[in-house]
Symmetry: C2
Subunit: 338 residues, 2 copies
Amino acid sequence: MGFSVAIAGATGAVGQEFLRVLEQRAFPVDSLRLMASARSAGKTLSWCGRDYKLEDLATADFTGVDVAFFSAGSGQAAQARRAAAEGALVVDNSSAFRMDPDVPLVVPEVNPEAARAHRGIIANPNCSTILLVVVLAPLARQVGIRRIVASTYQAVSGSGAIALAEFEAQIVAEREGRPLEHSVYPVPIHANVIPFVSGFGEGGITTEEWKMVRETRRILDMPNLAVSATCVRVPVRRAHSEAVNIEFERAVTPDEVRTWLRAADGVQVLDEPATLTFPTPRDAQDGDDVLVGRIRADPGHPQAIDLWLTGDQLRKGAALNAVQIAECVLEVPARTRA
Amino acid sequence: MGFSVAIAGATGAVGQEFLRVLEQRAFPVDSLRLMASARSAGKTLSWCGRDYKLEDLATADFTGVDVAFFSAGSGQAAQARRAAAEGALVVDNSSAFRMDPDVPLVVPEVNPEAARAHRGIIANPNCSTILLVVVLAPLARQVGIRRIVASTYQAVSGSGAIALAEFEAQIVAEREGRPLEHSVYPVPIHANVIPFVSGFGEGGITTEEWKMVRETRRILDMPNLAVSATCVRVPVRRAHSEAVNIEFERAVTPDEVRTWLRAADGVQVLDEPATLTFPTPRDAQDGDDVLVGRIRADPGHPQAIDLWLTGDQLRKGAALNAVQIAECVLEVPARTRA
């Protein structure tokens, strides 16, 4: 009754999160195969009390694999294609296929029907984009959305385990009076914020910002949606946050937005000024839902609403969303974590 | 040839910064008097190699004082009024007088003429607002501005020395595996971001956000300017940053914006994607200028520009701006720091 599951890129931050999510959701795993680079091949990882030997992704045979979760980077797109050709349903977490018209780009709460039309590969969207569209979609179903201006507050673990180690080492170095070393980021992230995520793209917009523009339009199926994004790295370990200004086609009230979001899947509203209730990334860490608060009317625009959201970018922003895609396509009843 | 100068609230973070700014700019101080709460009265502070005994602000006589820099909070507004009645030019850093039509609200690069029309008291604007209008004003002189959407990344020292100590203690506590204690902020700020600055006001908008809306309109003399602000505290020691979307009355290019800002007083453009040049709060700390980068066209709006700014909120956002106001009114030639 279960599936043969493979994880490609099992040693990375997202790969590790796949293992946690599969266990917590009791995903029906009949057999599990873990794959990584040749450098890691032969080492063992344990899952649910059993040891698994890492295979070299470059030579792994995907025959018989039902679903392969790829979190091995855009550079492994050829392996993802090969896995699909060998019969696996591939859910790929890299940016390689996200704008490919033959590959659905899916957030199950938003466009599950797109997942079911797959041709072997389904793309898992950018982390900041997933958190944003989980909140935008239930609003757009009620009243059309014209324009988004979003500023992000992105966690260090979004750059992987090495970035997190760099951050921790900077905290220690500063306490000991040593210079802050950095290699993942162009400047220290400890006690700093960096208005630069990924690399620079067209028009002085970063690739992360372009992903938020283009993937948001594609997932919501709103090709003309106006999106401005400023992506900023902050010294937070885990969970991305976003300040979002949403311009609707007609005036909506904060109470309407709260009502629509309370009824939405994957969203939790934490919004009560009187008790200083609003979500922070420390609240979202290790959780499944996108937390939303600070919902209020924009005093400068009669049709705009401001809000704040935060979500665990390694879970809903990556591994959890990919597993939910598989549950959707394989018709596995979703079981939330125990 | 010099002036009799008083600093009310000399022991606070901004008070200390006043002493540094007066020394660095060689402000012509003939005599200096330092005032604080009754609790601190009698203690001594040193400045430029001399010791000064702290006076109790409540009973200090301002007769003969030429200029009094107040950074003693809104609760001391009565003392500021008394100082002005006793003949001092009062530059007040609290929010008490900022929306008083009889009191000019001044940023010298933006509206110096308002300062000269004072009636004894001049209000120093909110820190985030000062940094923003220093950048907006030179743009608005070229092309009208319709709407601003700003998200802030505000440093812990903006909440005073106690907040900074709370942050440092949290860093140590987490390394030692102890719980993170907090009293200034409702949740820990270390490895977190908090979408809440000051307190809550009308419409679920914080008082800090309302200051950015109302003070920006007043300083720029644009009563109908549409402003949305989301104010967020970040684990940075010093220098506030802001991601700003600016909608103009006509399309402008990023190059035009760079040219206008390069010619502006108090602004430094650090913006070169090819060399990963953009400003972070660590660059702005202890400096006088507002640093601007990431200037780019908003892909979602033909008349909007996105940019990123950062500035030392204890200097240009508080003490430096107040001293510049005094220089402007007293016609002291501005001397930048050595």
